[in-house]
Symmetry: C2
Amino acid sequence: MNIHYADRMNNLKASIIRELLKLAERPEIISFAGGLPAPELFPVEALKKVGVKVLEEQGMQALQYSATEGYKPLRDKIAQRMARIGVEADGDNVLITSGSQQGLDFAGKIMINDGDVIITERPSYLGAIMAFKAYCPRFIDIPMDNEGMDMEALETTLKSEDRVKFIYVIPDFQNPTGKTWSVDRRKKLVELANEYDVIIVEDNPYGELRFEGERPPAVKSFDTHGRVVFLGTFSKTFCPGMRLGWVLGEGELLQKFVLVKQGADLQTSTLGQRELNQFMEDYDLDQHIGTILEVYRSRRNVMMEAMDTHFPKVEGLTYVYPNGGLFTWVELPVHINAQELFKKAIENNVAFVPGDAFYPNGGVDNTMRLNYSSMPEDKIKEGIKRLGEAIKEML
Amino acid sequence: MNIHYADRMNNLKASIIRELLKLAERPEIISFAGGLPAPELFPVEALKKVGVKVLEEQGMQALQYSATEGYKPLRDKIAQRMARIGVEADGDNVLITSGSQQGLDFAGKIMINDGDVIITERPSYLGAIMAFKAYCPRFIDIPMDNEGMDMEALETTLKSEDRVKFIYVIPDFQNPTGKTWSVDRRKKLVELANEYDVIIVEDNPYGELRFEGERPPAVKSFDTHGRVVFLGTFSKTFCPGMRLGWVLGEGELLQKFVLVKQGADLQTSTLGQRELNQFMEDYDLDQHIGTILEVYRSRRNVMMEAMDTHFPKVEGLTYVYPNGGLFTWVELPVHINAQELFKKAIENNVAFVPGDAFYPNGGVDNTMRLNYSSMPEDKIKEGIKRLGEAIKEML
């Protein structure tokens, strides 16, 4: 039997992270490889009450087919929360998706023809790269500093490439680097997008997880033309297992997302949407996020202190101090290959994600991503100590 | 601002049914237009108990990210049930999807290049046509009789077309016609697929809703090469709002579905999967289906009797007597345009779906689909009476 798959399938391979995570699952291993929220903080008790209430009061509607756009009261609540980051919108601007991963897939499906150019940060989120790859774009990744994307490099690219479809950014506590864009860069990004008439896809799963400082306005808040599509999610502030995210946009562009959602899975779980909505009515989501922040902040502190203590002080070894989110990012001396280090680390019973998977065009082998949200503090200390030893062995 | 969408978006238009359903939503209208299960039969009380139990016993896992393939105990249960229709499989052959609509989208994504040929029944399911259209195939639809697809016409097409990627069929109580394929046709379909080396996508959302007679073996049961992909769903036997379906297949082809699922939305709701699994452990799904069958059978009877009574006895007006599922299908005398009839019907406060949307290449204007699952019997009687009057006005 010969199966002739679509050409796009040549672009798709099983995620390396997925395979690594399998290795990292052995119980003796302290894993900084995943991107999991801390499950002990999930609002289990509240959800029990909320679930019963929704079924008691709206059982038939909650289990029936419903509008592709999503449950209106939930869409309204999301729109209201967006005002905090300077985005004026109402519920009609919101499409509920099955996690923000689905918004990424749809962005690709709606905009990318074979060979179109997608601009990303260097490095960028692996799941987005995978989602876009299914539509066969060419990636151009732009260097980052601590303020965000290099705007000169971006403009040079926009000037020379006429097939740019969109610029994909994660401006708050980026996955994988933990970096956050300055307000100036956000403004400049929108200016350039206006000038060169391209779309921006702003992916913001971590913005609400800020440990210190003021939350900057969204890139979307500077949008005057409806060219920024904002992707949000409840995976990090509520729970990931229910797959509840959203796309916020305007006009025809948003309608295309709705259209594609219809063909893809008709709608996101009616029950899940109504449970989340009820949770937001009966409980204080911000207070819940406050609890998460306390735990994650402390874990971030522990990880950073342990790195200061146990990582060798050598030239070329740097790491990001993240003010929020789930990750920090390590650059190793150039002669250390992170995949080799991974093998050594596994021998030392500690795991991380080698950074090369986050470069859409590959070619960078001396970086790694560390997650601090899902491990208790004593394990973080011990794990970083082991990792420091593995690094030292490779010097 | 100019947005340059992907070329595939030219193929996608908002579903006509969706617009019609909006009209049909007015409270005074008796609507046979939807495809909704009867919400009064949803297992609301059981789900309350199941939801609490799952959160109590497995709260942290039930709200966390989980494997793309789905929850293993649920996959195992699905595989076991498939034995009833002659399919030998285990849980590893099953991928949980967000409704079977998602399986349709994935089939298109995995297999269709621009201009490839997809063979469908004539007419076929609108949602599948929409899902496939996003990947820009050419549709060839093959005539049906009461035993299924015309096998001679199919072979002629397979002989003359070298870009056929798959044959899409709904062999049990087809949407929209309500027709069921004979066992011989199922066997012959697989034989032809073997001979011409093409894939079969078997979509089976209604097979478990059989009012009388024996359930025939699945097309998949005759598959000796792993070339049949079976799509199933709990939307009609449990509830549609939770979006729980599955793909059953083998080897590399199934792996492609998993890969595409990863990029599309990572996984289906962990909580939803575990709730369904718990429901199947604590309650008798077959008994629940039995309750649904009793109600739907009786509604089917009422609709068929009302049609016998109120539809005019004229040449060219025929309708299908379905032995299960949600729909019957009416062919009108050729001079009656179903879109025109729809307008008249709406004036008479009754609604249906004009059949043209179910023809992937259009061109047939004298058919309509009627749903009997979601209306109480007195409304079915009254609605069919009104519809009969509307038809008479157009003779």
